[in-house]
Symmetry: C2
Subunit: 403 residues, 2 copies
């Protein structure tokens, strides 16, 4: 039987041990939260001190590259697809101090993604948008994030997606400044194209080939440049859908190098477009086997199957006609310059054999231009996707044959 | 005064609380260690399952791009400079499953580095090599790491650096397979050049301009292609040294985009070189303002100031002469193809005005070729650097004037 003295001693021991345990727990929590936070910064400073995360970006003004770098904080960009290209794209924009990012993806992080930059093994199992937001907030707490863990190609989600890109700007109710397509399949590209045509939303497309050694970026200004439905040779997409891949036990190749280069070229184009410096590229390809970078631009197709694209073209024509002549001189550069000054010609991102096998029909195209992607051999089996309300694959094939 | 019963109750309460506290502590520690580890993988598998981090890389074989991807595990690469380009370079190689990485840097992580990929705010204050090793081991525990937290340009460290690149291969005593220069100053580039010429070590150079909107990569095969001392126009380096910058309160600009693209092009070239696919680039530039990618190759200069370069050239000539004629047909492609098939011409990474201000003398060069970098306006003040034992800046200037 314990005496009062013994029990008192035991209480004191336990109290001390508990205090120590709680102290250690606090220290662990502190270290954890310190690791997750730097204080927010109200105003970007150009001061050259080690503690200023914006000094090297603000130096772009002093170097005569960008007139007003701080303006980056006023922009909102939507990134659709947070995989090999989209995650690095989001990280670059976050580190550049973009105002707000909207992230859309419905996939989970897997160890099979570890051959590309950004995600880490301990994030396996988390949704990509959740894992990305956590990492990106930690890197730059000054950026606002809005994430959507869903597939934009189903009807209900598509409506919500349209709503968010037209209302989800830095100031709620204003549209985003730019939509970036970093998806890996045909349907999602068509959904983004449909939404942006209807809203008149400027966007950029990106893609990497199934063999991992080529890719491209493309700027699409509804009504002005070719949209995804206007110009099959450049935009008829489809890397094999990730879901199909998993089902069939085949697997597209990917490399952190190609995806990093494509993300870098994409975000560079975004910075040039938003901050108005350099020449914004309309189409830039990357062929890693030969280190070859085809470049071109294409006007919108008046016979485009997408009725919103045709409507945007009419509005663009009206605006162009109304513009006073004096201002035309100060115009941005012409969209179409098919004879590019470096004599560069386009190369295919797929082999002719792959193309035949995948699409059955090779479209008749001007010399030097070949398709960038193959069309999926079979129609998508999921019935409720968005692009089918606008145009079918058959329509697209018919359109390609007409070209 | 407490009774025995009261004290017993208190003991039970405290014991329960302590157990809870310890359980929570264990859970935190578990989460922490889980976050840091995935098990090592003995053999790369091509199996398409979500848990296989190599499935997308092994698919390069099925896609017909790479004959033997597993061979990546037998190679060792040294990365000198773990900043904006070097850290992403190391991450890409780690995710690709390289056998061993040697990392050299003497700098610390600062918040001012957060506008580039890779490092995170909570790492501020850590040495770059230590922080990088921690993150990279976590990403891929199958890679071996060796880190050196020192400046390679001091005499003592230079000797150690030479020793490690000639002995620090995957099998100790064997040389590394490739050295990558990702440094930001002239002296360090000259030190790497000197070491690689003496050892006959193949290496690749990389660089990004002070205004953040251009960069390049270059393959240097001692005796065969121009070394860093052979060809001032392409290689006369110097971004302002980071230390000088900090002292003088000025600051070079940098962008995650440009650095990500340069790292991607560099590691792509490394993969093509090591795994023997595609065309390895001898020189590839990136001009972000125009999305323009100049490409070329240069032979070694028989009048090079570096005596080890001249010795390597003689050995190369001897080897070429001894090679049976039959094999010449199966040779890799010729190094020099000055009339490149795309009619591309080189552009400067600096303006003419910057060049004049920085170097005083503009070298006389063949049409279409201009210097990639400016030479530092003043001589480096640190006396004990390596390149001075081989050649001075004056020698280099004299050499440039001769050209």
């Amino acid at each position: 039987m314990a005496t009062v003295e013994e029990l008192k001693l035991r209480v004191r021991e336990l109290e001390n041990e508990l205090i120590k345990c709680k102290q250690k727990q606090c220290a662990m929590e502190d270290a954890h939260s310190q690791a997750l936070n730097r204080p927010k910064i109200d105003k970007m400073s150009a001061e050259v001190v080690d503690s200023n995360p914006y000094s090297r970006l603000m130096a772009l003004k002093r170097m005569g590259i960008v007139d007003d770098y701080e303006k980056i904080r006023t922009f909102t960009v939507a990134v659709v697809g947070v995989g090999g290209v989209g995650s690095v794209t989001a990280e670059m924009l976050t580190r550049c101090g973009i105002g707000k990012l909207l992230l859309f993806d419905y996939d989970k992080v897997e160890l099979a993604n570890m051959n590309r930059l950004f995600f880490q093994p301990h994030q396996a199992g988390l949704s990509k948008v959740e894992a990305a937001e956590h990492t990106l907030r930690n890197i730059n707490p000054d950026v606002s994030f809005e994430t959507h863990n869903y597939n934009i190609t189903t009807m209900e989600n598509f409506t919500h997606f349209m709503d968010r890109i037209s209302q989800g700007g830095l100031e709620e109710g204003k549209p985003v400044d730019l939509v970036l397509s970093c998806v890996d399949n045909f349907e999602a590209r068509m959904a983004i194209n449909t939404a942006c045509n209807e809203l008149g939303q400027i966007w950029m497309e990106s893609g990497v080939s199934e063999n991992a050694v080529s890719g491209h970026i493309q700027l699409i200004i509804p009504g002005e440049t070719a949209c995804f439905a206007c110009a099959p040779p450049l935009v008829v997409a489809a890397n094999i859908d990730e879901k199909t891949l998993k089902r069939e036990g085949v697997c597209a190749a990917s490399l952190p190098t190609t995806m990093g280069v494509v993300a870098g070229l994409l975000v560079q184009n975004v910075l040039k477009y938003l901050l108005k410096f350099g020449t914004v590229s309309y189409y830039l390809g990357y062929n890693a086997m030969q280190d070859f970078f085809p470049s071109m631009a294409m006007k919108a197709n008046p016979q485009c199957n997408d009725r919103y694209c045709r409507r945007q073209q009419e509005e663009y024509k009206k605006k162009e006609a109304e513009r006073p002549k004096v201002e035309v001189v100060e115009e941005e550069e012409e969209v179409v310059h098919e004879d590019n000054e470096w004599g560069i010609e386009l190369v295919s991102e797929v082999t002719d054999a792959e193309l035949q096998a995948a699409s059955g029909t090779v479209p008749d195209l001007p010399e030097g231009i070949t398709v960038a992607y193959t069309i999926p051999a079979e129609e998508p089996t999921s019935g409720d996707t968005v692009e089918e309300t606008e145009q079918s694959l058959e329509d697209l094939m018919a359109q390609m044959r007409k070209l």
